[in-house]
């Protein structure tokens, strides 16, 4: 079973869900991350995802496998879009099926949080005002930028503003 993959075409949540069906499971939790029309006060027109696939798949697989083991769920999977996306498109999908609901919620939350911070994937936002920028990259490199980002990619990335996903 594929634990983590990238897709350069639109995602079909129903098809993803079918791959996690299991008669031993009494619960299924999924998370969908959608492309939002604004970020940090700017109106977003569209965005692009670019991934370092060779390492991204390995790291994504490790995250999903860890979640299955750590929370004792039956099945889990994650798929992340790459390429050009429009407002409302499905950017990332996580699904977990398990015997009981509690561990399914926890595992789903764990997977999306870890994927956002560990998988080498980058998001370029194109704004309505014509600007564009790589999220988390460009502001940090500006001279005199004193906004305290935590770049420990492993676990503790914590933005004060509301996140899209």
């Amino acid at each position: 079973m594929t634990l983590f993959r990238f897709s350069d075409v639109n995602l079909d949540p129903a098809a993803e869900r079918r791959a996690l069906e299991d008669p031993a499971c009494g619960g299924f939790v999924s998370f969908e991350g959608w492309v939002r029309n604004h970020n940090e006060g700017l109106e977003v027109r569209r965005l692009e995802y670019e991934a370092f696939a060779a390492l991204g798949i390995k790291e994504g697989d490790r995250i999903v496998a860890d979640a299955i083991k750590k929370f004792g769920v039956e099945r889990a999977a994650c798929v992340h879009r790459i390429g050009s996306l429009e407002i409302g498109d499905l950017a990332v999908w996580v699904g977990v099926s398990s015997r009981h609901r509690g561990e399914a919620f926890a595992a789903c939350r764990y997977i999306i949080d870890e994927v956002k911070h560990r998988v080498p994937i980058w998001k370029k936002e194109h704004y309505v005002n014509g600007d564009s920028g790589w999220v988390n990259c460009e502001a940090c490199a500006a001279p005199g930028h004193d906004h305290k980002h935590d770049h420990d990619h492993a676990h503790s990335h914590d933005h004060s503003h509301a996140e899209k996903a």
């Binding site: 991350g33 995802y49 670019e50 991934a51 370092f52 060779a54 390492l55 390995k58 790291e59 992340h80 950017a91 990332v92 999306i112 994927v115 956002k116 911070h117 560990r118 998988v119 080498p120 994937i121 980058w122 998001k123 370029k124 790589w134 999220v135 988390n136 990259c137 460009e138 940090c140 490199a141 500006a142 980002h149 770049h151 990619h153 996140e163 899209k164 996903a165």
Partner: protein, 298 residues
């Protein structure tokens, strides 16, 4: 270095007069502050560095001298050799070069630092064979930053006036002088030949290389793949480089000189051969390296 098409290769032109004779000058006036002991006296391979440098130069030059500060005149090590005493204190290497040019204005000077443990006769001979006497100086390009290496350079008699003017204007950096002159630049035949030794750690490392206990810095072929912001800033998705960088940390510093990368190393992670790795992990020829800017999935 092969002459560029359309340029006259001086070696093919019969000179009207012979080029000026080459004298050797070994610089030994440094303070050795970082080494905390006199670098000239350090023993490498059973020989004091100054003695070794003097022998290298005198094997190829008509006459060879050691450049010393006035207060080093009576130093037992230095006074074993013919010396040229700095005319003025506090100028560093350019003062030694200028004093030598004043003492023998007819000569071209092969100027050497005394602390180049990897320098060989072959590298010096290459420099002299490819020297361009029509230029103020002939120097090697640094393997580390692509700029001229001032302390293994032939200074032609024609540079004397400009060197004097440089000092008179309050400048002392010989490297900047070479950058701002029509210096004839050569690629080093041995990329490590001019690595110098400034600290006790560097000395230990150099000695283990010279004793055959550690591999010498060699040019490695490295493939670097760029993603996202780095791909845009480098203007390419990948490149293959010859580099002496032995860790990803050193490679990133090198790439920052080639491309306008403003992200700090502390903001990045690094992967070698498609697996995360440590900034201090050793790099091998054939490795593929990816520097990972802050990620933004989801």
């Amino acid at each position: 270095m092969r002459p560029l098409p359309g340029r006259i290769d001086p070696s093919t032109v019969r000179p009207m007069t012979s080029p000026p004779p080459v004298f050797g000058l070994v610089l030994a006036g440094g303070m050795s502050r970082r080494m905390q002991t006199d670098k000239a006296a350090l023993q490498i391979h059973g020989k004091q560095q100054l003695e070794r440098a003097f022998e290298l130069a005198s094997g190829l030059c008509a006459k060879t001298f050691v450049s010393v500060r006035a207060d080093q005149r009576a130093d037992p090590l230095r006074s074993r050799f013919p010396t040229i005493v700095d005319e003025k204190d506090g100028l560093g290497p350019i003062g030694g070069i200028s004093s030598a040019q004043a003492a023998h204005p007819e000569a071209a000077w092969l100027v050497l630092a005394c602390d180049l443990p990897f320098l060989t006769t072959a590298t010096l001979k290459f420099l002299l064979d490819h020297r361009d006497p029509s230029k103020p100086a002939t120097a090697f390009i640094s393997t580390h930053d692509g700029l001229p290496e001032p302390l293994c350079t032939v200074w032609e008699p024609s540079s004397r006036e400009a060197v004097t003017a440089w000092i008179a204007s309050g400048k002392t950096c010989p490297r900047k002088f070479l950058i701002n002159s029509a210096t004839h630049l050569l690629k080093q035949p041995d990329p490590q030949a001019l690595d110098n030794v400034n600290t006790p750690d560097e000395l230990t490392a150099a000695m283990s290389v010279l004793d055959g206990k550690a591999p010498a810095a060699v040019l490695k072929t490295l493939k670097i793949q760029y993603f996202a912001l780095f791909r845009e800033q480098a203007g390419r998705g990948e490149e293959t480089l010859e580099s002496t960088a032995d860790t990803p940390a050193r490679l990133y510093v090198e790439l920052q000189r080639r491309h306008p990368f403003k992200l700090q190393k502390e903001q990045l992670r690094v992967a070698v051969n498609s697996e995360f790795c440590d900034w201090q992990a050793p790099l091998n020829s054939g490795d593929t390296v990816v520097f990972i800017p802050p990620v933004a999935g989801g």
